[in-house]
Every structure is written in structure tokens, then in C-alpha cells.
């Protein structure tokens, strides 16, 4: 798009054309007594170099890079190959607007189609959308989708999903007359089976779980899907660490009907919480209830392969008031990065990445729990995150570690009363043996 400045001459011509003397005259219909007198209470404008300096100073406050970090819980510090930045910043791709017109947007549409294909392969389901805002809104969309399909008002949501996602689900469902039931967890850190059996009934639309869950524990999806299907409900599985899908069996192969989650792990920087990348896939029979847009493959008049948006009429064009959700866009650029990331790693590379995460986490877990006063909180199997329990409150330990340049883990105190002495620790491929050993040594000193 061309940049069109507005000159004084243009202004004068435009005002003359519509027959008013000044811009002020355009606002004459607004009563005097409610009009702002004087200027807005804003600081003076800055020149470009001043503005740069201002934000550079702000940026220096971000001290994350100075620390050795073991934080995760929904935002993962994975290595991003340089090719992801290089390709995703090319002029053909970087645009503030996502053009969908097939005549001019074959590249964009092909990327979305490939992204959908990759999500289907990772999750083991038939069809995926062009992406959602993030994992939290994806979780909320999944329970609403299940409710549209099953038309039953009871929604079972595990208490061990990311607590911030749970808050978004509460917000989305608050005024819809739905019955949100929280499922407690057991000693293994998994959804408690007895409580689940008591909670699931004929009025249930969905069981929503996260795997690995917020405690890093892998859920038994087969058991959960059987419980759901026995009562004509759906199993929706939330994935906040998609790298785990290189190591674990795809949820769709274990009975999940909807899989949604956060794909920040796949080539997106931590970036102070966003923009992140939601994804969603489902069984083919539910395609008309899948929110968002879908790119499809077709042929043009000459029989050549091409891509178009498909099944999107419901959302945007002719039935907006009956749209399945309020998402009318996608995270095209973030999805592009995830696509480049996954296609760079390839099937074997992605498996190896997942293996590295799991192996390093197993090493860290064994070393950390060998320290007196440190125990593993939950007995369930883990991928690259786990909860440790300490002899005293985590808060004090965490502060002492920070003084040693280590962000040791996420406190569970706020969201889980009773787990004040617990922390969630995350390991990725970036944690070399030396780094893990440094953490172990520091923790020993702090606990001495």
C-alpha cells in the first residue's frame, strides 16, 4: 500500500468540497459542555532517535537473559534456528494484514495449509484450523465447541490444566448458562479417577484435560476418552508443550476428539507473553463446529493445484450473527514461524528434540531429588517438566537462587493452596549437563 500524506492543501480542498470552514466545524454538533478543552494529558512527542533510546532503556529492564532459567509452565525457552527468523522476515511474508484472496495469496494460503497439515500429523486428528490466538483461548473455544456438538451443559475441566487457561475458560463460559465442574488431581498428579467417575454423567458435553498437565505429568488419555465416550461426551485435550508430541503418542490416536493448545514452543520467542499461537484440530465429523478459518487444497480452471479458504462462510461473510465463535482471524505470522520451524527440524529432528528434552529432564530430576530435603511431588510420568517439594516454603529458596543468577522454577502457591512448598521446574534442550549441574550445586548451597 502506498503512503499518502495529508498536506494542508489537501485538507483545505477537502473542507471546501464538503462546505465547511475548518475541522473544528465538523464537531459543532457535540455540545460545548462535554467537549475537551485544551490538549490531552500526554507527554511531548519524541523524535525517532529519542524514541529508540526510550525503548532501549525500557528493554534493559528485561533481565531474563542474565539468568539461568528453569521456568516453563506454558512458555518454553527452546532454541530457534536462525533460518526461522530469516525466512519469516522476508518481505513476501511480513505484512500487517493477512491477504486471503486466492488470486494474490497462494503463498500465504499454502503456508496455512501446511501448518494445518503439520498440526494434524502432530495431534493425530483429521482436520485443523488456520490457528487461534493462543492456548488459553483455544482451551475456551474447545469447551464451547464440545457444547455446540453435544448440546449438554455440563463441562468437566481438570484442575491441573494451566490455571491461567482455566481463568479464560471461566470468562468465556460465565454468562452462557453452562455448568463448569472442576476435576481434582490425585497423588500421581493426574485427574483423580474416582472423582471423574462421580462427575461424568449423561449431561456432560466434554472432559477437558491437559497432557502433559500443568504439573508436567502425562495423563492417561485412553482412560479419559473411555470415560467421556461412555457418557456420550467428548474428550478435549490441551497441549501447552507441543514438543512433547515428538515423544508421546498423538492424542487423536488415544481417543481425543478435539486437540487444542499453545504452539509458542515451535519457533516463537518468549517475548513477554506474546504474540503466541493457538492451534486446534478435531475429527472430520465436527468440521462445521471448528472455529476459525481453514485453508483447503483445490484445483484451478486449468487443473493446477491451488489453495483457498474453505468453510469460512459461517464465520465472516453471510451469517456473522450465527458464527461458531468470535475469532475472525488467525495468527498467520506466528503460524508461519511454526511451519518453518517444524519443516526445518523434520520428522526425525523433531523426535530427537523431544528425546533430548525428556532425557535432560530425567537427568535433572534424578540429580535434584538426590539432594536431602528435595522430593518429587507427583508419581506420574513426566516429559520435560516436574514438580518438586521442598522442606520449607519455595518462596525463600527461590529468592536465594535468584541471588545466584538462577530462576529456579514457578511457584505453585498462588493457584494451588497446599502446594506452597512446591515448584514447577522445566528443562529444555538448551539446558546442557553443565547448566543442570550448576542448578543442583546452587540448590545444595541454598538448602544447606
Amino acid at each position: 500500500m502506498s503512503y499518502i500524506p495529508l498536506s494542508e492543501k489537501d485538507k483545505k480542498e477537502m473542507l471546501e468540497k464538503i462546505g465547511v470552514k475548518s475541522i473544528e466545524d465538523l464537531f459543532c454538533c457535540i455540545p460545548e459542555n462535554i467537549r475537551l478543552k485544551g490538549n490531552l494529558n500526554l507527554p511531548e512527542s519524541l523524535s525517532e532517535p529519542e524514541l529508540l533510546e526510550y525503548f532501549q532503556e525500557k528493554g534493559k529492564k528485561n533481565s531474563y537473559e542474565q539468568y539461568l532459567s528453569f521456568l516453563g509452565g506454558g512458555a518454553y525457552d527452546h532454541f530457534i534456528p536462525a533460518v526461522v527468523d530469516y525466512l519469516s522476515l522476508r518481505g513476501e511474508f511480513i505484512s500487517p494484514y493477512t491477504p486471503y484472496q486466492p488470486e494474490v495469496s497462494q503463498g500465504t494460503l499454502q503456508v496455512i495449509f501446511e501448518f494445518q497439515t503439520l498440526i494434524c500429523q502432530l495431534t493425530g486428528l483429521d482436520i485443523a484450523n488456520a490457528s487461534l490466538y493462543d492456548g488459553a483461548t483455544g482451551a475456551a473455544e474447545a469447551v464451547l465447541m464440545a457444547n455446540r456438538i453435544k448440546e449438554k451443559k455440563r463441562l468437566l475441566v481438570a484442575s491441573n490444566i494451566n490455571p491461567e487457561y482455566r481463568q479464560v475458560i471461566v470468562t468465556y463460559t460465565k454468562n452462557l448458562g453452562l455448568e463448569l465442574v472442576e476435576l481434582p488431581f490425585d497423588q500421581a498428579g493426574r485427574i483423580d479417577k474416582k472423582s471423574l467417575e462421580a462427575a461424568v454423567n449423561a449431561e456432560t458435553s466434554v472432559i477437558l484435560c491437559q497432557s502433559p498437565n500443568y504439573f508436567g505429568v502425562v495423563e492417561n488419555l485412553k482412560v479419559l476418552s473411555e470415560a467421556a465416550h461412555e457418557h456420550d461426551a467428548l474428550l478435549a485435550v490441551l497441549i501447552s508443550e507441543p514438543v512433547s508430541l515428538g515423544w508421546l503418542e498423538a492424542p487423536g490416536k488415544q481417543g481425543a476428539d478435539i486437540v487444542t493448545g499453545e504452539a509458542q514452543s515451535l519457533g516463537l520467542p518468549l517475548s513477554y507473553g506474546g504474540p503466541y499461537l493457538g492451534f486446534m484440530s478435531c475429527r472430520k465429523e465436527f468440521v462445521r463446529q471448528l472455529p476459525g478459518r481453514i485453508a483447503g487444497q483445490t484445483v484451478d480452471a486449468d487443473g493446477r493445484r491451488g489453495f483457498v479458504l474453505t468453510l469460512s462462510t459461517r464465520e465472516q461473510h453471510i451469517r456473522r450473527e450465527k458464527a461458531t465463535s468470535n475469532i475472525c482471524t488467525n495468527q498467520a505470522h506466528c503460524a508461519l514461524r511454526a511451519t518453518i520451524y517444524l519443516e526445518t527440524l523434520g520428522r526425525q529432528g523433531f523426535k530427537k528434540l523431544a528425546w533430548l528434552n525428556q532425557q535432560k529432564a530425567a537427568y535433572a530430576l534424578s540429580q535434584l531429588t538426590a539432594i536431602p530435603g528435595v522430593t518429587r511431588k507427583f508419581s506420574g510420568p513426566v516429559f520435560n517438566e516436574f514438580v518438586l517439594e521442598f522442606a520449607r516454603d519455595w518462596k525463600g529458596i527461590s529468592q536465594k537462587l535468584e541471588e545466584k543468577g538462577i530462576l529456579g522454577g514457578i511457584s505453585l502457591a498462588g493457584h494451588y493452596p497446599g502446594l506452597e512448598r512446591c515448584a514447577l521446574i522445566t528443562i529444555t534442550e538448551k539446558h546442557s549437563k553443565e547448566r543442570i549441574d550448576r542448578y543442583v550445586q546452587a540448590l545444595k548451597e541454598v538448602l544447606k
Partner: protein
Amino acid sequence: MYPNDFYYTKEHEWLKVEGDEAVVGITDFAQKQLGDIIYVDLPKPGKILEAHQTIGTVESVKSVSDVYSPISGEVIQVNSVLAQSPDTVNKDPHGEGWIVRLKVKDKSEITNLMKAADYEKYLEGLEH
């Protein structure tokens, strides 16, 4: 064209009364306007409908339209053929392409509907 023993709505549904039950579909005019039908979203049997409430949706290559219930009643059967062959609505809108069978709640509501001759007149009005 339009069967004399059917009743019609302004939204182009037809209703055929059979004792205490009634069959609902969309008219030949409606299917022509929609074009090639690729999907029919059917309700679940047991669903209670008020008159003018949405029964389901009909999706064609160029549009998506709601189908409204001409009268109040309970859905007792849906045309499961449409799940596999939605184009049956195009081929035989007044016969094999029926959409749902209702148990009629209040027969007096039928007097609000048009007869074939009135519907044909109504269509003529739309063409001008």
C-alpha cells in the same frame, strides 16, 4: 409444481400433515435459489421446536440458510439420507429430500400457513 396438500411459509419451507405428525422440507424455489446443496445440518430427534425456530441449516456452494419450523412440535425423525446425500434436496425437494418429521403440538397453527395457490402467488410477487 407445488403439491396442493402441502402448506408453505414465506421462508420457503413446506409442511405436509399426516395425522398427528407433519413432514417438513424446503421448497423447489428454495433449493433453486441455494444452488448445489453440500450439507444439511439436522437436529437431534427429541428436540422441541417452537414455530419459526431454527430446525437446522442448509449449506450450498454459495450460501448457508437456516430452515425454520413452520409450526411447533417435537422432532421424531430426521432424514438420515441427507447426511450422505445432501443433494437429494436438490433432486426431489418435495419428496425424498424431506428434512424432519414432527409430532404436531397445535394443529391450529397450520391456519397461519399458505396453501399452494397462495404460495405460487407469493413467489410471483418476489419475481417482480
